[in-house]
Assembly symmetry: C2
């Protein structure tokens, strides 16, 4: 039996579900050191990561060293540069690509449209949410889906990461 | 010394920070029984509640029985109907009104513009957030502020309310 690839999204968010000021500033200067440590410890467990083009641009130096799939509308067919593959989901099947590459565990690192792509394809098997104790009141929401849909998850664990109360919630997809 | 009134916001949200499908449907048919029980147990500890007009319309029968302040642009000066006061924040000072009424503990029940009003006035002293284990991908965000601002909170407690993993986070305003 061929085991399915497991997809895990990592999200750092404010209390009010905002992940950035605007789509061009997806770097997380406001996240805690403790979240960064957790994230860096988690990544080696994954065969590949998926990011959108804006997220890629922000962390290009680090992502170049990994098996990275970058969602972009700028290519007609998958384009490989070192360990980085640029792929357009409108004309290429990313799940097919991941199967061919034999990736078993894939980390989804955002932004919101990338998270949403896996969510609406019901392939967001795990969701790791770090909530920093901040409210932004405006900004980029965690998911930017086209319509209101009820996706059920189940909380696997909750862990406080530091004194001010950064909290790490791990969910599993439930429907 | 005259003690300041304390304002506590109660919010029920999806994992992705959405509190409703659209602004006219602010009733929470998707929240857990356990959150409802927590909320009903909390309310008697407050002297008054503040809601927006849409939220009031959804729960009018219950709110009529309380000291309720309804934010609305439809009145020129505060209008009292039984225990309910309709007030326009553009031409009346709600903090002055609350002081005159001698309310010491006030619960803010939403929607997003009402939460934001207290946030931007730096009067959101406590924030009680119930996260249901759902992702909506779209819908009304928790706060609808005009600009991205960094408000610091501190986590006071985290409590799992049921098996599927509804979690209750209590924050205190920190800056």
């Amino acid at each position: 039996m061929f085991p399915r690839t497991k997809f895990t999204a990592f999200v750092a968010t404010s209390i009010d579900g905002r992940i950035a000021k605007n789509p061009k500033e997806l770097s997380s200067t406001w996240t805690s050191k403790e979240d960064w440590v957790f994230f860096q410890k988690s990544l080696p467990g994954f065969d590949a990561v998926v990011v959108g083009f804006n997220t890629y641009k922000v962390s290009e130096n680090r992502l170049k060293k990994r098996n990275t799939i970058v969602f972009t509308s700028k290519v007609k067919k998958p384009k490989k540069v070192g360990s980085v593959t640029f792929l357009n989901v409108n004309n290429s099947d990313v799940f097919d690509f991941i199967k061919k590459m034999n990736y078993k565990k894939v980390a989804i690192l955002g932004g919101p449209r990338v998270y949403d792509f896996f969510l609406k394809n019901k392939m967001l098997h795990e969701l790791s949410v770090t909530i920093e104790p901040l409210v932004f009141g405006a900004g980029v929401p965690m998911f930017t889906g086209e319509k209101f849909t009820k996706y059920n998850f189940e909380l696997q664990s909750a862990k406080r990461l530091n004194k001010k109360g950064t909290i790490l919630l791990k969910y599993k997809y439930a429907s």
